[in-house]
């Protein structure tokens, strides 16, 4: 079977899993697009509940910075495994996971603050749309962090000799690469979300 | 109940001008639609006392739409006959004949032919679009200043009609003067409904939270059935209504009756007290002490209405009694409580005497 027995040529010359991830990201974009549209629909409806004035832009800005940095560490991790620098690769993956965790921590702090103030999902339409969008994104970050942990725990790439330069269709390399694709997508989406929710002035 | 509209039909005839339904004209169209002309005439012969049809317009909007539909039906009929005719012809003419195992000519396509039918399809689309847009342009015209304003409020599962300029509120039976444009503003108290009198105009959804608009001119006197046409819950099928298109004089006298309300002499009727105690929390009747009930349909002039329960049953004193006794028997899901029979451990609120008195009282509201 092509996808599993080594790496035979494919019609497009692309790895199966990579093409699959791109396709999946296409679908995911629509998921996020719908939630973003929903947020836009309700961003003016915050009477009596969570509204733009409750948002702590400094805190979440720090989170956004952390997440952007994690994209950088992901790139470094990929470059490391490509050239067989396995220790560095693990280090950078660990760093990426750590940055992801910090982001989740910041988001948890933010959500908890709102919850303690009684500003839940049902408090206003703004709040509902806010939690739906950022929560859905947060879930993606959590999945990403679990994925990184998985890469480390199950030692993906253990078949690569230190110092070995692997080809771009090496199975282990692609395993890490699709994780990176996913992670960059999650980061990129956050750039949009952060801009729309926190930076654009409320109507 | 079974023959609801058969029974109403004398009203239709009394009202006048439309006597014989004009079915003949659209028979060819019906043939296309149903494929079965023979069955068609057979089936149609035994019915049609009060048809809820789009094919016999009595309002300008319904007429406009039918005038768009009919040519499209004809175009469709021509295409249908051509395609199916060709398929049947080919299946017979080009069928495999035993013994002839020659391979037919392997035609992969014909660019010129294919361009031709892309162009032909596009041409038909353009024709249809132009026809449609012309109709839409007429429909988009705002109602004139002399239009009769009616506020329609949809409820699960009945209709309220308010004439703000005339100070009239009524339910389920809409009176309209012939020839005068009507400007409807539609709102809902609960879920989405759709307001539809097929003979008068196209339908318009009634969406809670917004006011939608619809305007048309009734062009023929008569009684026209209508119905909620957006699924709205348990008794959606029994959310019917009637439109009475009447002469201006008849309309004026109807309005006067609604504005005046009940005869003050009725206040001493035994039913008046029963009504005040048991019904007035939800229902109002102008000219009586019961003027605050808002939840249920306005009952001013109820004695003159032809149907009860949102068009569920034909109105007679017997069905009125039946309705009061236990409306959910006639209309499952109805929000009006059952007062005339015991419900579980709760005994009946109204005795049979109360009900009789109520019926007498309500029947005199005309």
């Amino acid at each position: 079977m092509a996808a599993h027995g080594g790496h035979p040529a494919t019609s497009l010359g692309l790895d199966m899993r990579k093409l699959g991830m791109w396709t999946f990201i296409g679908s995911e974009s629509i998921f996020f697009g719908t939630l973003i549209a929903n947020f836009f629909r309700w961003r003016g409806s915050s009477e009596g509940g969570l509204g733009p004035e409750n948002l702590d832009i400094n805190l979440t800005g720090a989170g956004a910075f952390v997440l952007l940095m994690s994209s950088l560490t992901m790139v470094l991790a990929l470059a490391a495994i490509r050239s067989g620098r396995m220790k560095q690769y693990r280090l950078w993956i660990g760093a990426t996971a750590g940055l992801g965790l910090i982001f989740i921590g910041i988001q948890t702090l933010e959500f908890t603050t709102f919850a303690l103030e009684g500003l839940g999902m049902g408090s206003s339409l703004f709040g509902g749309a806010f939690f739906a969008l950022t929560g859905f994104h947060g879930l993606h970050v959590v999945i990403g962090v679990i994925w990184f942990a998985f890469l480390l725990i199950f030692r993906v790439g253990k078949d690569i000799e230190p110092g070995e330069h692997v080809s771009s269709d090496n199975h282990s390399f692609v395993s890490v690469e699709i994780c990176g694709l996913y992670w960059h997508f999650v980061d990129l989406v956050w750039v949009f979300i952060f801009t729309l929710i926190y930076l654009l002035p409320a109507v | 109940m079974h023959d609801l509209y058969r029974l109403i039909s004398p009203v239709n005839r009394n009202a006048g001008e439309t006597k014989v339904p004009q079915r003949r004209r659209y028979r060819a169209v019906r043939f296309f639609a149903g494929f079965l002309a023979a069955v068609s005439s057979l089936v149609l012969s035994g019915c049609g006392e009060l048809p809820q049809t789009i094919m016999e317009p009595a309002g300008d909007d319904a007429r406009l739409i039918l005038n768009l539909l009919v040519p499209i039906l004809w175009i469709a009929l021509v295409i249908f006959v051509a395609v199916v005719g060709f398929l049947v012809f080919s299946m017979i003419k080009f069928r495999y004949r035993p013994g002839n195992d020659d391979i037919p000519v392997q035609i992969h396509g014909n660019t010129r032919l294919e361009i031709t039918w892309v162009a032909a399809s596009a041409f038909i689309v353009v024709v249809l679009a132009v026809m449609t847009f012309r109709t839409m342009a007429v429909r988009a015209e705002a109602p004139g200043s002399g239009a009769l304003i009616v506020e329609v409020t949809a409820n699960q599962w009945w209709w309220e009609f308010t004439y703000p300029e005339l100070d009239v509120v009524t339910a389920n039976e809409l009176y309209l003067p012939i020839g005068q444009e009507v400007d409807l503003r539609l709102a809902s108290n609960d879920v989405i409904h759709s307001f539809w009198f097929p003979s008068l105009s196209g339908k318009q959804d009634v969406v809670p939270g917004t006011v939608t608009r619809l305007n048309f001119i009734p062009e023929k006197t008569g009684v026209y059935p209508g119905q909620c046409s957006e699924f709205c819950g348990l008794a959606h099928g029994q959310m019917r209504m009637l439109a009475f298109v009447v002469s201006p004089a008849e309309f004026d006298s109807w309005v006067e009756m609604q504005v005046t309300g009940a005869d003050p002499a009725l206040a001493t009727s035994p039913g008046a007290q029963v009504f005040q105690t048991n019904c007035a929390a939800c229902h109002s009747i102008r000219g009586t002490a019961a003027t605050f009930g808002q939840i249920g349909p306005e009952l001013t002039g109820i004695g003159a209405r032809t149907t009860l329960g949102g068009g569920t049953v034909i109105h007679t004193p017997d069905t009125m009694a039946e309705w009061i006794r236990d409306p959910s028997q006639l209309k499952p899901g109805v929000l009006m409580p059952t007062l005339g029979v015991a419900v579980g451990d709760v005994p009946a609120v109204l005795s049979e005497d109360d009900i009789a008195a109520l019926v007498t009282y309500l029947e005199s509201m005309r």
């Binding site: 999902m121 | 009060l50 969406v207």
Partner: protein, 615 residues
């Protein structure tokens, strides 16, 4: 020709016991699972329809009450769309797409199994709602009627969560087929040489990929409206019920093409085979399918003309909707032209395929009528629409699928269905179908609204309704006969041969049924009718010599897909019944995915079978 067919070896599957079905990752077995399960749900949904038609046979009938009727029409619609026709189509995707492109399996065989099991558990979960009160807000589930205030039971939760599971299954399956078709084509199998059916599989997969996310989001937002008290769709809380309609129909309309494009593909395979000619204008048919797919995303608001979006919006959506008539018309004309100067073998499959063209034409023409928004204001939510949609989805989709079953049954089982009984089945189905839905055009024009559980006499509806019910019973009889034909078709010798219909596409180059690995050697494709050209143009399908020498490794069976799918279904069900159940489901999914990635994916080398191309 002789090099392409060969008698069947005695055994062609590793195992035949239940365990092997549970753990299978073979696309052909998954196809059978899809087809069988979907047929069962089709029967359930059809029975629901029969109960409704019985109730409507006469005015003021009391066979069932309004509450049950509302559950039945909701479940009939949801089931036919999501758990009958869609998975029937998916069955054909599974059976054919890999065979058509000369692949050994799909790109992700275990994901494929996951899609199936998610579908099965999602569908069962949806239907279990009958025990606690099925959803009764229509398949479109317009709020606020479907909000907590007006639908307090758990029916809507079944609807939302069931469809979320089914939708996710479909998205996963779409990713799989997109990658398979783009990336696993045999050498020489250019996109322009792919069979139309596989093209339609690809287009359909993209439709699902992009249409389902907004709907899934909307469904989850409705769930939060119901459970957490957000008010996105609740006007009483400042929400917007019309937004639901936009999001729903953004899925709802492409969904129609998800249901009809694959049967269009089936018909595009069946017609040329029995006409013994190539499909007329292959390129035009493929491009029409693609443009129907694209336009399908830009017409959703034609389901909302009566909402009052304003003349501009209605005008735009009217225009784009009418544009769809062009590619649709092209398809119909190309199919018709395929029959011209042909040598038509009138088989059951051919009868269903030609009926498809005729009945779909009726559905398309009535669709043209209410594409004109003013006409739609009279037709929408009446029986005219019921007639229209059934001419498209029953006369169209189901007849196309029936054509496909008769046509590919030999490839599926090695046996041919009884042609004489098949033709009787066709005749009864054709007659019954038209008797059922033809009269509904008249009912609609006579103002009978949809979704009413009873009606009063005296409006000219009684006779037509009775006729429709008689037609429905006739249709039901035709399907009982079909079940008999199928049961008969499972027994007896596997005598169909590899290429019983003198086919043109690659599936006819392998054994019936094909070996696990489909083809002994990887074929090299030189045209879009490789097998036909091999037989009649003297150019047998060559094989990839390099690939032929290596061992064939098929994916190993796995039980993790069913465990993950079960976990997802439990997770969804737990939202209604108990959160610990959700937690158990979550653990199953989590553990299942980890284990999934750690198991060996390559099975033992396939047994030499002597099947397929180029022995």
């Amino acid at each position: 020709m002789a090099t392409l067919t060969r008698s069947l070896p005695a055994t062609r599957t590793w195992q035949t016991d239940v365990w092997s079905w549970i753990t299978t990752v073979d696309h052909k077995r998954i196809a059978k699972l899809y087809l069988f399960s979907a047929a069962a749900f089709f029967a359930i949904a059809g029975t629901e329809a029969m109960i409704m038609r019985t109730q409507l046979a006469q005015p003021d009938a009391a066979v069932i009450d309004g509450a049950l009727y509302n559950q039945l029409f909701t479940m009939h619609g949801v089931s036919m769309i999501f758990v009958a026709i869609m998975p029937l189509n998916a069955g054909f995707f599974n059976l054919l797409a890999p065979l058509h492109i000369g692949a050994r399996d799909v790109a992700f065989p275990r994901l494929n199994a996951l899609s199936f099991w998610m579908f099965l558990f999602g569908a069962i979960f949806l239907n279990l709602s009958f025990f606690t009160g099925a959803p009764d807000g229509g398949w479109f589930a317009y709020p606020p009627l479907t909000g907590k205030e007006f639908s307090p039971g758990t029916g809507m939760e079944h609807w939302i969560l069931g469809l979320a599971v089914l939708g996710t299954s479909s998205i996963i399956s779409s990713v799989n087929f997109i990658v398979t078709i783009l990336n696993l084509r045999a050498p020489g199998m250019k996109m322009t040489r792919m069979p139309v059916f596989t093209w339609m599989t690809l287009v359909t997969s993209f439709l699902i990929l992009f249409a389902f996310p907004p709907f899934t989001v909307a469904a989850v937002l409705l769930l939060t409206d119901r459970l957490v008290g957000t008010g996105f769709f609740n006007p009483a809380a400042g929400g917007d019920p019309v937004m639901w309609q936009h999001l729903f129909w953004f899925m709802g309309h492409p969904e129609v093409y998800v249901l009809i494009l694959p049967p269009m593909g089936i018909v595009s395979e069946v017609l040329p085979t029995f006409a013994r000619k190539p499909l007329f204008g292959y390129t035009a048919v493929v491009f029409s399918g693609i443009s129907i797919g694209f336009l399908g995303f830009a017409v959703w608001a034609h389901h909302m003309f009566s909402v009052g979006l304003g003349p501009i919006a209605n005008g735009v959506f009217t225009a784009i909707t009418m544009l769809i008539a062009i590619p649709t018309g092209v398809k119909v004309l190309n199919w018709s032209a395929t029959l011209f100067r042909a040598s038509i073998k009138i088989t059951t499959a051919m009868l269903f395929a030609v009926s498809f063209v005729a009945l779909f034409t009726i559905g398309g023409l009535s669709g043209m009528m209410h594409a004109a928004s003013p006409v739609d204001l009279q037709h929408t939510d009446t029986y005219f629409i019921v007639a229209h949609l059934h001419y498209v989805l029953f006369g169209g989709s189901v007849f196309g699928i029936l054509a496909g079953i008769y046509y590919w049954w030999p490839k599926l089982t090695g046996r041919i269905l009884n042609e004489r009984l098949g033709k009787i089945h066709w005749f009864l189905a054709f007659l019954g179908f038209n008797l059922t839905f033809g009269p509904m055009h008249v009912l609609g024009n006579d103002g009978m609204p949809r979704r009413v559980y009873s009606y009063v006499s005296g409006q000219g509806w009684d006779g037509w309704n009775l006729l429709a019910t008689v037609g429905a019973y006739l249709t039901a009889v035709s399907f009982l006969l079909f079940i008999y034909v199928l049961l008969k078709g499972l027994r007896g010798e596997r005598s169909a041969g590899d290429d019983p219909w003198d086919g043109a596409t690659l599936e006819w180059a392998t054994t019936s049924p094909p070996a696990v690995h489909n083809f002994d050697s990887v074929p090299v494709i030189g045209s879009n009718r490789p097998v036909w050209d091999g037989k009649y143009e003297g150019s047998p399908v060559p094989v990839d010599a390099a690939a032929a020498e290596s061992d064939i490794h098929m994916p190993a069976p796995s039980y993790w897909p069913i465990i993950v799918a079960l976990g997802l279904a439990l997770g969804a069900a737990g939202v209604i019944y108990s959160y610990p159940m959700s937690a158990v489901g979550f653990v199953m999914v989590f553990y299942g995915i980890i284990a999934w990635t750690q198991e060996s994916t390559v099975g033992p080398p396939a047994r030499p079978s002597g099947s397929g191309v180029g022995h």
